[in-house]
C-alpha cells in the first residue's frame, strides 16, 4: 500500500458513505439518473397540474409549470357527467377476482408441475412456457369469438376469463416450489398433510413474499389492461376505468383538463398500491424479470 492510498482508505473505513466525495463518474451517473427520473415523472406531473388548471388556462396554451389557480372543476365534472363510479366498481371487481383466481390456480398448477410425478408434466410445462411467448393480442380475436359464443360479452365474466391466463405467475411459482428443499414436503407428509395442506399451509405461508409480489403485479396488470376490456365491454355499464376514460374524450371533444383528471383518477389505485407495496413491486418485477432473462 502506498502512502498516498492510506488516508483515502481510512476515510472510507471511518466515514459514512455520505461523507465520501463523489468522483466524476459518480456525478455524471447521478445527474443522468435524475434526468431520466425527471423525464419519466414529467408527463405525470403535467397531467396532474393540467387537471387542476381552470379550463381557460389550459386552452390558452400557456405552458406554465404551476397553475395560476387551483380548481377541481374537471374532477367534479367527470364525477357528475360520466359513469366513473360504475367503471371503478367494474375495475375493482374484475381486477380483484382476476388476481385471486390467478394466484390460486397458478399456485395449484405450479405445485403440481413442481412436486407431483404424472405423465405429461414436462409437456404441459413446455406448453405453459410457450403460452408465455404468445402475446394476448395474438389471441384476442379467438377470445372475442369464444366469449361472444358463450354470450359473455358485456359481463364481468367475459372481461375476467381471458385474463386468467398469466403463465409468468405459474412459472415464478414453479421456480419457487422447485427451490424449496424436498424435506419440507416429506416432513409434512410424515405429519399426515395432503397436497392441499402442503401447498396452502406449508409452501405458500413459508414465503408470503412471493405470493404478495405476484398478486401485486397481477392486480396492476389487470387494472391497467385495456385492449381486452375495451373489446369485451361495449356498453358503459360494464366498462373498466381505462376503457371508460376513452369515453370522456368522445363525449366532450378534446377537453384536456377533464381528460387529465380522468387519467389521474384511473391511475390512482395503481399509484396507491405501488406506494404501499413499493418494495414488493420491485421484488415482483425482478422475479418475473428473472424468468424473462
Amino acid at each position: 500500500m502506498t502512502a498516498e492510498a492510506l488516508p483515502r482508505s481510512q476515510a472510507v473505513a471511518t466515514g459514512s458513505r455520505r461523507d465520501r466525495p463523489l468522483d466524476l463518474i459518480g456525478i455524471v451517473l447521478t445527474a443522468l439518473t435524475l434526468l431520466v427520473a425527471l423525464a419519466s415523472f414529467f408527463p405525470i406531473y403535467w397531467a396532474i397540474i393540467t387537471s387542476v388548471k381552470p379550463d381557460g388556462e389550459v386552452i390558452s396554451g400557456s405552458n406554465s409549470l404551476w397553475p395560476g389557480r387551483f380548481v377541481f372543476d374537471s374532477y367534479i365534472h367527470i364525477w357528475n357527467n360520466t359513469n366513473i363510479a360504475t367503471w371503478y366498481v367494474n375495475s375493482f371487481v374484475t381486477s380483484i377476482v382476476i388476481t385471486a383466481l390467478v394466484i390460486v390456480s397458478s399456485a395449484g398448477c405450479a405445485y403440481a408441475l413442481s412436486q407431483l410425478d404424472f405423465p405429461g408434466r414436462r409437456i404441459i410445462y413446455v406448453l405453459i412456457l410457450a403460452c408465455f411467448m404468445v402475446p394476448m393480442q395474438a389471441l384476442i380475436v379467438n377470445h372475442f369469438v369464444l366469449m361472444a359464443q358463450f354470450k359473455l360479452l358485456n359481463t364481468w365474466a367475459g372481461i375476467i376469463l381471458p385474463q386468467l391466463i398469466v403463465p409468468v405467475v405459474i412459472i415464478v411459482y414453479k421456480q419457487f416450489f422447485d427451490s424449496v428443499p424436498k424435506e419440507f414436503r416429506e416432513a409434512a407428509q410424515m405429519d399426515s398433510a395432503g397436497h392441499f395442506k402442503i401447498l396452502f399451509r406449508i409452501y405458500l405461508p413459508m414465503n408470503w413474499g412471493v405470493t404478495a409480489a405476484l398478486a401485486i403485479i397481477t392486480f396492476i396488470g389487470a387494472w391497467n389492461s385495456f385492449l381486452w376490456p375495451f373489446l369485451a365491454a361495449t356498453g358503459e355499464a360494464t366498462m373498466t376505468v381505462p376503457v371508460g376514460i376513452t369515453q370522456v374524450k368522445d363525449a366532450y371533444g378534446i377537453v384536456y383538463g377533464k381528460l387529465m383528471a380522468s387519467a389521474v383518477v384511473a391511475g390512482l389505485p395503481v399509484a396507491i398500491v405501488y406506494l404501499i407495496f413499493q418494495r414488493r413491486v420491485t421484488q415482483a418485477i425482478m422475479l418475473s424479470a428473472g424468468v424473462k432473462g
Binding site: Q189, D191, S192, A193, R201
Partner: protein, 359 residues
C-alpha cells in the same frame, strides 16, 4: 412395541442399483446405526423404511404389518431430517402440533404431549419462537420434539448431528443416548461417522457398495470385523494392513511373515484359504511399543494424544505401521523401537476381503 424387519429390500434409480437385497431384523427398543461412507445408500434405506422412497423389491414389516406399500404417515414412524425441515413460518409449538392436528388429535391431548416433550428436551421456554430465532442445537431438539409428540413406534434419524459444531455434537450425542434410555423406543440412526456409531449403537449395520457388510454390536464390529472394508472403516486410528508374504504353522495357528518380520497369530491355519493375496490386519492398540518386542523398526513420526502416543514405525521391508506407546513416551523420530503384537488381536483378510479371526 414393534420390530422392524427388512426382507431382501432392493432399490434402483433407473439403471443404477443403489441397494441390493438388504435384509435385517431390528428388535424393538434397539438403537440401530446405519454406518457407511457417503453414497452407500444409508439414507435411501432409511427413507424406504419411512415411506419416502419407493421399494423396488422385497418387503418391510413393522410389527405385524407389512408397510412397504403404505404412505409415510400410516407407518407409525417419525423422522428427523438432517436439515431438520422445521416449518419456518410456524412457532415451535405449531411445528410440534401440526402432525397431531392433521390426524384430529384433540387440543388438550396435543397440548399435553407438546408440554411433556418440551419439558423432556428442555425447550419449554422456546415454544412460542420461530425456527429462525433458535440456535442450531435448539432447532435440533425441536426436530426431535416434533418426532416425540407423535409417540411413534420408531424414530428414524438421518445424520441429525452433522449440522452441529464439534462440541455440541458430542453433547447432543450423549443426550440422544439418554433420551433413548428414557423412552426406550426403537431408533434407527444414519451416520458416516464411526465414532457416533460406536458410542450410540446397540448394533451397527455397516454398509458399503449397495449391501450390508456386517451387523453387530460396536465391539463385535470393532474386534471381529467381517471384512477388510469394515476393519478399515471402523476404528480410529485406522487398522494397519500388511501384505502377507508367507505363512508358517505353530500349534495349528498361523504365523505370518508380513512387513519383513514374523508375526504370530491365534488364527487356526485350517480356516485360512490357500493361495496368495492375504493381508494381515492389526490395530494400533494391538501393536505396543515394548522393550522385548519381536518386531523392530524405526520411528518416523510421533503423534502425542496426551494419554497415549501414536508412533509411526518403518518396518524392515519399508512398510509403515502405526503403533501405540504410553502418554509419556520418551521416543524420538529416528530411534529404533521394538513392538509387540497381541496374538489374539490379529486379523487376516483374503483377496476378496473376507476376514479370519482368532477362534
Amino acid at each position: 412395541m414393534a420390530d422392524i424387519v427388512l426382507s431382501d429390500v432392493s432399490k434402483s434409480y433407473g439403471q443404477v442399483q443403489v441397494l441390493d437385497s438388504v435384509s435385517m431384523h431390528i428388535k424393538s427398543g434397539e438403537f440401530i446405526v446405519f454406518l457407511g461412507p457417503s453414497g452407500c445408500g444409508k439414507s435411501t434405506l432409511l427413507r424406504m423404511i419411512a415411506g419416502l422412497e419407493e421399494v423396488n423389491g422385497g418387503q418391510i414389516h413393522i410389527g405385524d404389518t407389512r408397510v412397504d406399500q403404505l404412505p409415510p404417515n400410516q407407518r407409525g414412524v417419525a423422522m428427523v431430517f438432517q436439515n431438520y425441515a422445521l416449518y419456518p413460518h410456524m412457532t415451535v409449538r405449531e411445528n410440534m402440533s401440526f402432525g397431531l392436528q392433521n390426524v384430529g388429535t384433540d387440543k388438550a391431548e396435543i397440548a399435553r404431549r407438546v408440554e411433556d416433550a418440551a419439558r423432556m428436551l428442555e425447550i419449554g421456554a422456546l415454544l412460542e419462537r420461530r425456527p429462525s430465532q433458535l440456535s442450531g442445537g435448539q432447532r435440533q431438539r425441536v426436530a426431535i420434539g416434533r418426532a416425540i409428540v407423535r409417540e411413534p413406534r420408531a424414530f428414524l434419524l438421518d445424520e441429525p448431528l452433522s449440522n452441529l459444531d464439534a462440541s455440541l455434537r458430542v453433547r447432543t450425542r450423549v443426550e440422544l443416548a439418554q433420551l433413548h434410555q428414557r423412552i426406550g423406543t426403537t431408533m434407527v440412526f444414519v451416520t458416516h461417522d464411526q465414532t457416533e456409531a460406536m458410542t450410540l449403537a446397540s448394533r451397527i449395520v455397516v454398509m458399503n457398495n449397495r449391501r450390508i457388510e456386517q451387523i453387530g454390536t460396536p465391539m463385535e464390529v470393532y474386534s471381529r470385523p467381517a471384512s477388510r472394508f469394515v476393519a478399515a472403516f471402523v476404528g480410529s486410528p485406522a487398522m494397519n494392513f500388511l501384505p502377507v508374504s508367507s505363512i508358517a504353522e505353530s500349534d495349528g495357528q498361523a504365523v505370518v511373515n508380513a512387513g519383513g518380520v514374523s508375526i504370530a497369530t491365534e488364527i487356526p491355519i485350517a480356516n485360512l484359504p490357500s493361495g496368495d493375496g492375504l493381508t494381515l490386519g492389526v490395530r494400533p492398540d494391538a501393536l505396543k511399543v515394548t522393550a522385548g518386542g519381536s518386531i523392530s523398526g524405526v520411528v518416523e513420526i510421533m503423534e502425542r494424544l496426551g494419554d497415549r502416543t501414536l508412533v509411526h514405525v518403518r518396518l524392515p521391508d519399508g512398510s509403515l505401521v502405526v503403533a501405540e506407546d504410553g502418554g509419556k513416551s520418551a521416543l524420538e523420530p529416528g530411534a529404533t523401537v521394538s513392538l509387540a503384537a497381541a496374538r489374539s488381536e490379529m486379523h487376516i483378510f483374503d483377496a476378496e476381503g473376507i476376514a479370519y479371526h482368532s477362534s
